[in-house]
Subunit: 205 residues, 2 copies
Amino acid sequence: MPRMSPDEERTRQLRQHKQRQRDALRERILEVSRGIVRSEGLASLSMRKLADAIDYSPAALYLHFRSRGEIARALREEGNAQLRAAFAPHATLADPAARLRAMGRAYVEFSMAEPEMYRLMFMEPADAAGAADTAMLSVFADAFAALKAVAPLACAQALWANLHGIVALELTGATPPATPVAALVELSLDAWLAAGSGLAAGSGD
Amino acid sequence: MPRMSPDEERTRQLRQHKQRQRDALRERILEVSRGIVRSEGLASLSMRKLADAIDYSPAALYLHFRSRGEIARALREEGNAQLRAAFAPHATLADPAARLRAMGRAYVEFSMAEPEMYRLMFMEPADAAGAADTAMLSVFADAFAALKAVAPLACAQALWANLHGIVALELTGATPPATPVAALVELSLDAWLAAGSGLAAGSGD
DNA sequence: GTCTATAGTGTGATAGAC
DNA sequence: GTCTATCACACTATAGAC
């Protein structure tokens, strides 16, 4: 570590301070954005509203984010991390079927707890934000492989699609509320994991 | 039928003519709207663009439709009818499993052939337009009942969700294109219709 | 019934002063 | 780095002339 003169030391501290302020404001912007999106949805996140909420001018936002889309992108990444965290406790279950069931339930529970975040992550046009977590798909596929499915990856995608469909129809209100979400989830998990089901008859992959 | 004087007859004909013109314009509006929605999506349907395309002023549109939403609503109804028509040839299949497979495939084929219509019908906030066709659900449920499923309606909803999930993830681009849609559909139909699957173990309904 | 003209409101993003 | 002011646009919907 090189010695510094008192002057050098002082300017270094100043720079660090500035940097901390910058980071703090960026974090504040994300924090408020998160609140707006979670309660009103991405469509309601406007640069003006955001600026008002943090008591800065709209122009100030563009010093920390290139565009509105980049804020959305950051929030989406937060959501992905949140979902991964929700999976973590179940990823270590030894029985692959139990693992799939637990993670499937966790997935849907996340979606119901954070519907607007879920929308942002999986129901918004993909744009440049890169497709959703492949991590989740991998864990699903590994479990199906352990179950000796012929096409583990395809099974993982299809089960994911099943869960997503349940959630998506619920969130858009397209479905009549005849059957509670939890029941649809259990039924679907049964269909995909029941002994003698299509696990050995998969096509493609 | 009451006799009319020649004068009465003439005004009657005039009225009919006017009515036909009215209907024709309304139909024309719908026609152009349909074209815009099918090629660019509902979001791109603006009253200005629509007015330009039919060579009328924006104000004229409001003489035939209360609002933009009402146009969307009419198009949605058209889509529902189109989907019902796509189902019709398969609804009479005697074997319930074959019936479900055929209708499931027809559903997904419709969605891939008319992605923007599908979006409008099933991926747009439900608003006042009333939830999507319950007719489809009924046919699905009937087939599951014929298969002696414990919870036919719940099975129908869950299978629908499965198909919708496949389509929705494809349309938003959230899914990696590892497995073609058709393969996911076959795999899902297998899971739901394989002998020994969860049909007898359903919960809820 | 149809038009022109416009009200009224929203948006994302930027220029230029300080 | 922050602000004010504004550009350039989109939108739905309506008032009032003809």
